[in-house]
Each structure stands twice: as structure tokens, then as C-alpha cells.
Point group: C2
Chain length 395, copies 2
């Protein structure tokens, strides 16, 4: 409230207004809001206009944004639907995680970066950002096709794999130690299974009792307390906070149990999530783009990020015919929030450099911008429709 | 996201969970959430459990909470209704501002506190917290009575007077200078009139054009940008940020223009506002309660705070008969957020001491706790009903 608070308040205003302004302008050119908000952060951040600087309070706001973002992603998955996923979807998701990971890891290892940095690069290339693809498929009116079902299903599994990879790499605080990787992986998988299996049941028992306990809507505060609580718990056991927030979202994903929750979380989302992407953009030092080597590396990483999903997911979907497999592969190309979070954790731990952080941001921006037009071409009516060759386990 | 972020995240969790837990428990005993959240802050703050300390990021979150709180208060006022307020309401509101101000100012001046500190005390005693009274009147089923209309109308005017007083005192950065008071008052009144008169018209022109401009709901981001922008503007011209937020709320208060906005702001409210009250509680040093002098002063201030509204507002409503006048006076007794904000601004500027801050917090807690039971007695059916003697300008 005092003198210094004017500076903070002005910066909050600048961050939010820049994010929303660029998002509105970007929308006219079909640029996803994620991209616009990251660009807003790059623009107002220290390496360009210098209006806002990453500080403790920006990181606190951005952290809250990331937690609400991943809680919302979790809310969108239905636990019961997840159980029904077919083998094709599982194969698409698994290969789509394994191939990009080893391409990213391999490239940096080949270029003699440290093992930890190489692992972070691999991890940042894993998770598909399903939101962008889903919106494009919706605009094209093909959300009900088999290809869309496979893409969306695989992206969900992919998110969970991505969280496990993130949990493991965020445990890599001091160098790489295989025993530690295995123990963190065990912890992450155990935590996930525990929350998913026990949490869903507890919710089904608890929610009817909570109703009427408090005046107004009791679910929203309850959900927020559990979301923040699981985020803290995840960090305490050595995995990323957002993994906890994501799992909390999964637990609350049965909409019938908590009516109205999604709308309220979405209001929070609209306010807080821009601070996350803007801060992520602010952390990018555009001066590294002056270095030809970095640009070259960014281009290579982007190509590998695209190839990784195209080949990995395409292979997973090969039984659907080559055109459908290509559509699935391209649909899985956009990376988003999770890749950026992986990179920012690496940056925070000091295990990845400013240069590699910039490379990840460029890769995320490029894959997210390239996938939508490619999808439109692949689904365009002039192109012969994909042969109706759905894998047997989806019938 | 790095090491230190675990500490921040844990503290965010503790603040939010403590606030909601105490609010749920308090609700069982009809204690308003404001009180429970302040008590939660006192409990977890440095002077008791020491789990959380006021830091830059807590102040940033609390500041956002205060802004959303006052935006929401503004949203609840209807500009068009304000214009129709009768003379009785205006008199109740004016005397209810003037009398408590001079009682608070006079007491501290008499006790030889500095003029600035005395003015802050007077200012902290001005604004009625209408939410608590409104809820009690609703529970008693008397919201549609003339007394309730007068109370709610006066509380609205009172809020605006309170904002002007706040604007003036927050300009008192270096001692008291009557020329400066007049200039800040002029600025505050001018800013208020400008926003209220021009803002409403602009909104009525702009909102239909905004519709359909952005995908999804364009009003919520627009409202937030304007709310933050006016808060910054208010601070820049030397008045409190929340005055700007309140005026932004007034501008957006015509619900038909921005459907769904209130629900979304309310979701933000539920998440952010607890951080404000918890932080306000954290800032209270309970050790000052060990000093008999402070307790005595707090008791005196509380009595004057109650008498101020009872006499001031009662006088304003005298034409309605003594029982109705008493009901109006008691209904205006609870102080709340604005009083606390005034005190915290004074604390931040260093113009009021920790002791006076504690006195204000106690006064707010006491008036807010005492008014509801008193209202219930005054409205109880065993008591002879207030003679239907409505002032002519309300007919």
C-alpha cells in the first residue's frame, strides 16, 4: 500500500493489460493466446522495453497462475474416461513421449551439454499442448472423428506421462544419479496412483456431506485448498508443485459432484494464468537471438520436436493408415505450458542456461504456431478424406 | 519455482487454508467471514504462531485482494439508483460520516497524538461495512422495510464519502497542510465525478461494440484492465488505489451491460480477498494488547465508533421515530474493510503507530461483532414494531 506498492501495482497492470491486448490482437490473426501472452512478456520484459522485471512477487503470481493452469488441465480430464482408453491411444501417447525425449536428450548430449541439461531438454519436448489442437479440430468441425478421438485421448495420457517426466526431472536437483531418478520416479508414480485411485473415491464420499455445510458454494474453497495443499505436498516430496495441482484437478474432474466449479476456476484462470505466460516471456533474454549458434540450435530443436511427434505418434497410429497417422502426428506437435514449466524449473535450479531456456521458448512458439495451419491443410476437404480404417480397439 | 518458492507456496497455502477453515467454523457461530479471516491472520502471523510474515509478495497479493474487494463493492452499487436517493438517506449518511470522524479525531487530538494520526483515526471510523448489516437484515427477512432501504442507501453514500475521505488522507504523505488537503479533496471529488459521470456513458456506448470482438467473454478481461488501470491512475494522482478500483466497479455496475461479470469477479473475490484480510490480521502485533493503556484506548475508540454512528445516523433519521432511528443507527455501526485499509495505509506511510493500527483492528472487530446481535434484538418480533413513519421523501 505504501510508496513501493505503486510500482508493483503499475507492473501488475502493465503485465495484465499487455497480455490481454496482445491476446485480443493475436486472436484476429488466429494466434493462440499462449503465444500472444509469451510475446507480451518478451516485449515488456527486461531484454526489450524493460517495463517489468522478474522479482519475487512476479514469481509468486506466476506460480499461482501455473497452479491454476494445471488444476484446470486436470479438471478437463475425466478419470472414468481415462480408464477406457484403447491400445492405439496408449501406443500413440507412449511413442510420442519416448521419441521426442530421446531426440532432445540425444541432440544436447551430442553437442556436449551436461547430462542434466540434456535431460531437461528432452523433458521439455515431451508434453503435447492439447488445447490448441482441440480448438483447431473444433473449428474444422472434425472433433467427432476417430482421428480426433485418438489425438485427444493420447494428449491426455501424454499429459500424465509429461507430469511424471516433470516430477522426475524436477527431482534432479544435484546432477544425475540413477538411483535417485528411480526413487523419484517411484515416488511420482506412487503419488499419482494414490491420488487418482484414492482421491476419486474420497471425493465421491465427501462431496455430498460438504454440501450444505457452508453457506454458499463450499466446493470452490475446498477445491482451492486441496489444489494448493497437493501442490505443496508434491513440492515437499521433491516433485513439481504443478504435478500436485494437476492431480487435484483430476480428483475434482467428475463435474456432477461439484457443480459450478469449472466456471469459477475458469474466472481465476483468466486473471492469473496470463501472469504465468507473461513472466515466462519476461525470463527470455532476446539478446541470445543475436547468436547465430543459438538460432541454429533452436531451429534444430524445433525440427526434432516436430519430427519426434510426427514419427513417434505416427508410428503409434500406423494401423489407421498413413493419412490418419500423419493427422495424428501433426495434431500432437504443439508444445505448450508444460514444456515451458520444465524449462523454467531448470532455469530456477540453475541446471539449464539462459540460452537453452530461450531455445525451449522458441521451440514452443514455433511448434504451436506451425501446427494449426498444417492441421487445416491435412483436414481440408480438397484433400482426399482419410480412409475409414479405425483401429479395432476403438470400435 | 525454485527452492525459495516452496516457502512462498507453503505460506500461500497456510494463509488460504487458515482463512477458509476459520471462516467455515466461524459461520457456525454466525461470525462474519471478515472477522474470521482477520483472526486467522492474527493467529498465523508473526506475533503468535509465526507461520507467515508480511513480505513484499504478501503485500502484492493483499493489494490485489483489496482491489478486487472494492471493485466488487462498487459493482454492487447502482449508479442510476444512487441518483434517486432521498434527503433522509443523504442526511443519515452525512451525519454518519461527520460525527464519527470528529469523535475519532477529537479523542486522539485530546490525547496529544499528532494531527495526521488523529485524522487517520477519524477517517478509519467513517465507513460503514454494509455487507454485514445487509446479511443480517436478509436473515431477519426485513430487507424490504423502509429502515432497511434507508440503511442500505446510506451505506452506499457512506462508501462514496468514505472513499473521498480515504482519498484525502492517503494524500497526507508529509504532515498536514490545509492547502494540500483542499487540493487532494478537489482532485478526489473531481476524479470521482469524472469517472461516475463520463465512465457510465462511455460504458453504455462501448460495451455493445466490444461484444463479439473477442472470442468468449470480452467483459471480464476489459473490466479487470480498467479496474487495475483506474487503481494505478488513482495512486498516480495521489489518492488510494482502491478508490480507483471502487470507481471502476461503479462504472461496470449496470449489470445488463456486462452479463456474467459479477459471477466471475466473485470467483476472484473468493480466492484473493482472504489474502487481504489475513495480511491485515498478520500486521497486528498482539503484544500491544499487553499494554493496559492500549486496551483502554481501544475500548474508548470502540464506544465512540458505536456512539458516532448511533448519534450521527440516528439524528439523520430522527423523523422516522426513535425506534426506527435506533435501528438505522445500529445498522450503520459495523466498520470493515475501508477502516482497515485506512489504517494500513497509515501504517505503510509511517503516520500511524503499531498501537493505533491495533486499536483500529480491535474497533473494527468489535463493531462488526456487536452490531448483528443488537440488530436482531431491535428487529425481534417481541419488540413492538417500529411505527410506520417513513420520511416523506421515501414515499
Amino acid at each position: 500500500m505504501e510508496g513501493h506498492s505503486l510500482a508493483i501495482l503499475s507492473q501488475i497492470f502493465i503485465m495484465f493489460a499487455a497480455a490481454k491486448l496482445l491476446a485480443v490482437v493475436g486472436e484476429r490473426y488466429k494466434i493462440p493466446a499462449v503465444i500472444s501472452e509469451i510475446l507480451a512478456g518478451i516485449l515488456i520484459g527486461p531484454s526489450l522495453l524493460g517495463l517489468v522485471h522478474p522479482e519475487e512477487w512476479t514469481m509468486a503470481l506466476a506460480g499461482l497462475g501455473a497452479i491454476i493452469l494445471l488444476f484446470d488441465v486436470g479438471l478437463d480430464q475425466k478419470l472414468t474416461d481415462l480408464m477406457k482408453v484403447g491400445w492405439t491411444v496408449l501406443l500413440v501417447a507412449s511413442l510420442g513421449v519416448v521419441v521426442p525425449f530421446f531426440l532432445g536428450y540425444g541432440l544436447l548430449a551430442l553437442l556436449e551439454h551436461s547430462t542434466t541439461e540434456s535431460i531437461f531438454m528432452g523433458a521439455a519436448m515431451v508434453a503435447t499442448s492439447v488445447g490448441i489442437t482441440a480448438r483447431v479440430l473444433q473449428e474444422l468441425g472434425v472433433l467427432k472423428t476417430v482421428v480426433a478421438t485418438v489425438i485427444l485421448g493420447a494428449a491426455v495420457i501424454d499429459d500424465i506421462f509429461g507430469m511424471i517426466v516433470l516430477a522426475v526431472v524436477s527431482g534432479l536437483r544435484e546432477g544425475v544419479n540413477y538411483a535417485q531418478i528411480i526413487s523419484v520416479a517411484g515416488m511420482a508414480v506412487g503419488f499419482t496412483l494414490f491420488i487418482v485411485l484414492v482421491g476419486g473415491r474420497v471425493m465421491r464420499r465427501v462431496t455430498p456431506r460438504v454440501r450444505g455445510f457452508a453457506v454458499g458454494d463450499p466446493y470452490f474453497p475446498l477445491a482451492l485448498v486441496i489444489c494448493l495443499g497437493l501442490a505443496v505436498a508434491a513440492e515437499k516430496i521433491g516433485i513439481a508443485a504443478i504435478v500436485g495441482a494437476f492431480l487435484a484437478g483430476l480428483v475434482f474432474s467428475e463435474e456432477e459432484l461439484t457443480p459450478g466449479l469449472k466456471d469459477k476456476i475458469h474466472a481465476l484462470y483468466e486473471f492469473l494464468v496470463p501472469f504465468f505466460f507473461v513472466t515466462m516471456g519476461m525470463q527470455m533474454d532476446v539478446r541470445v537471438l543475436g547468436q547465430r549458434q543459438i538460432l541454429l540450435l533452436a531451429a534444430l530443436v524445433t525440427v526434432l520436436a516436430i519430427l519426434g511427434k510426427l514419427v513417434g505418434c505416427g508410428l503409434g497410429a500406423y494401423r489407421m493408415g498413413w493419412r490418419a497417422a500423419t493427422q495424428v502426428g501433426v495434431g500432437m506437435v504443439p508444445r505448450g505450458e508444460v514444456g515451458i514449466i520444465v524449462a523454467s524449473i531448470g532455469l530456477g535450479l540453475g541446471t539449464i542456461s539462459d540460452e537453452i531456456y530461450a531455445v525451449v521458448i522458441i521451440m514452443v512458439l514455433a511448434t504451436t504456431l506451425l501446427a494449426p495451419p498444417a492441421l487445416k491443410v491435412l483436414f481440408s476437404p480438397r484433400v482426399e478424406p482419410a480412409p475409414a480404417n479405425p483401429p479395432s480397439d476403438l470400435l
